[in-house]
Amino acid sequence: MNRPTRRSVLKTGAFFACCGMSHIRFAQSQSAHSAVLPVTEIAGGVFAFAGLPEMMNAENEGEICNVGFVVGTDAVAVIDSGGSVAEGRALIAAIRAVTDRPVRYLINTHMHPDHIFGNAAFSDAETVVVGHRNLPRALASRGDYYLQSYRDSMGGALMADIRIVPPTKLITDEEQLDLGGRHLALKAWKTAHTDNDLTVFDQQSGTFFTGDLCFVDHLPTMDGSLRGWIDQLGDLKAFKANLAVPGHGPVPSKWPEALDREERYFEVLARDIRKAIADGVPMAEAVKTAAQSERGSWRLFDEYNERNATAAFAELEWE
């Protein structure tokens, strides 16, 4: 686990050779195999790991989103379990390296596999899985598809352990979790990135775990409502946080400046799509040109922009 196997090095080498990838990513993918997730203490008792700006695959073991944990006097709360059980276990190892207090809560910020595929690593009876009230429904309608569709890119070995573990403690509006001398404020948002977005705010340090309501560097992905997301940016900005852990991007990030780039992207995307709809341009054509002016500003733009534009088109044509 600590080092890539010879086979994986060969595979990775061949992969980069054929795509002309930089050796920097190769170095990053090596770190993905550590048995202890390399977390950083960004505030007293607040730890986070910065995921790689990549797609989930066997080489990075699904470690593409930011995950973290907060240590209280009595217990620990984990924010997202990562993109594989291997990552979930490495996160537990990172927790055990700093505290022996029990993991009382595993908070899932939303339904996407990079955030929940590690849930099965936290099957300990004392860990309660916490999520947005819509999360069980979202996982019910997507779980089987996720398990099947990630098999090709993640490989059978990683997928073998992964199970869809829905939350049992559901957040409807706002609620606090007590870790002993430390409270986390959870907030369930209206449909934005997904219809089950949940944020976590550590009051003691002022650290804001935004889940995928905030993307930095990595192009935001649209699986909920563009209008809903734009509408709630004001409430997100109003959160008085000292620092943020976005769902994807630098750990920590400045708050609320971390929202600026996604706000601009949403405006450009909405403007381009609205114009196409007004002009009667069919969906298939409109999505090829929408928001292309933003291409240089983001990682993974080509992987996600057309999909975002497709979802935006289907939503905005009802205006």
């Binding site: 054929c18 797609m55 695959n57 890119s153 699986d223 069919p282 298939a284 996600y304 999909r307």
Partner: protein
């Protein structure tokens, strides 16, 4: 978030496209025989069309869809139809997604003098799959064309994005009429392009609730008719492969001054209908 095409998939994709590249010309040479090279299709065609011979489309019907489905829940599919003097007009078109749990996405039937030349809709595509259109002409013959779509997989699950919203506005309809850009055409005689949108979750019923292990009940639009005056433009028998908020953009020979009427029914027995005046000025 979404899975990228890793190296292994790329190799597979190359193998696939090589297969396709060789399969299509071969099939095109063999007139009157099945066009497709798909094991799923070979076992499926008997269930849908019995023993009837399915010939190549030879341009009577053409299909276009993105090679890579960016959003597996919303894959735009574009069909164009040509009337051939030998075969007669196209009476019906069956749209099939081979690898979907319920492969027959929809059967469209066209009114006798509707003159439908173009039909675009959006599909859910569960996996790498052929999407095919089989047209039936007035002489009773079947003509097939197909295209291969790679669903990008991963988090673009073919499921609802905003489920509460989908249920709240159930059955709402919208009709848009597009101005024709064709120069020199007479406003009263040319085909009119319209887009019909219906708010409906079009739930598949194949999704299992992980807590209860029960399947979420299917709830989708199963019947739809579009008419103008008392003339049928087209009807559709739908399945679960039609995307959430079913959407149909089509061109037909409109008669100015007559209302366009839409009736739809879903699997829960709910009926939806709406009517729009079609003025000469909007043509």
């Amino acid at each position: 978030m979404i899975v990228s095409v890793n190296r292994r998939n790329r190799v597979m994709a190359v193998v696939f496209s090589t297969l396709i590249a060789t399969a299509v010309p071969l099939a095109a040479d063999a007139q009157g025989t099945s066009v497709a090279e798909s094991t799923v299709w070979n076992s499926l065609k008997g269930d849908v069309f019995g023993q009837k011979v399915i010939g190549p489309a030879n341009g009577l019907v053409t299909i276009a869809a993105p090679k890579r489905a960016e959003d597996a829940a919303l894959v735009p599919v574009d069909l164009r139809f040509k009337t051939d003097a030998a075969t007669g007009r196209i009476k019906a078109v069956t749209l099939i997604v081979d690898e979907n749990p319920s492969p027959v996405a929809a059967v469209f039937k066209f009114g006798k003098d509707a003159g439908v030349t173009h039909l675009a809709t959006r599909l859910r595509v569960n996996a790498y799959s052929y999407v095919r259109a089989i047209a039936e002409t007035e002489d009773g013959k079947l003509h097939m064309t197909e295209t291969f779509v790679k669903a990008s997989g991963g988090c673009s699950a073919p499921a609802l994005k905003n489920q509460d919203e989908a249920m709240a506005s159930l059955g709402k309809m919208k009709l848009r009429v597009f101005a024709s850009n064709a120069p020199g055409t007479e406003p009263m005689t040319r085909a009119t392009e319209m887009q019909l949108m219906i708010r409906h979750p079009n739930n598949s019923g194949l999704q299992m609730d992980q807590l209860t292990r029960y399947y979420i009940p299917a709830h989708f639009i199963q019947g739809l008719t579009v008419s103008q005056g008392d003339r049928l433009i087209m009807s559709m028998e739908g399945g679960i492969s039609i995307s959430e908020d079913p959407n149909f953009r089509f061109e037909f020979d409109a008669k100015p001054g007559e209302d366009v009427k839409v009736e739809a029914a879903d699997t829960e027995g709910k009926k939806f209908q709406d009517e729009w005046p079609l003025q000469s000025s909007s043509l």
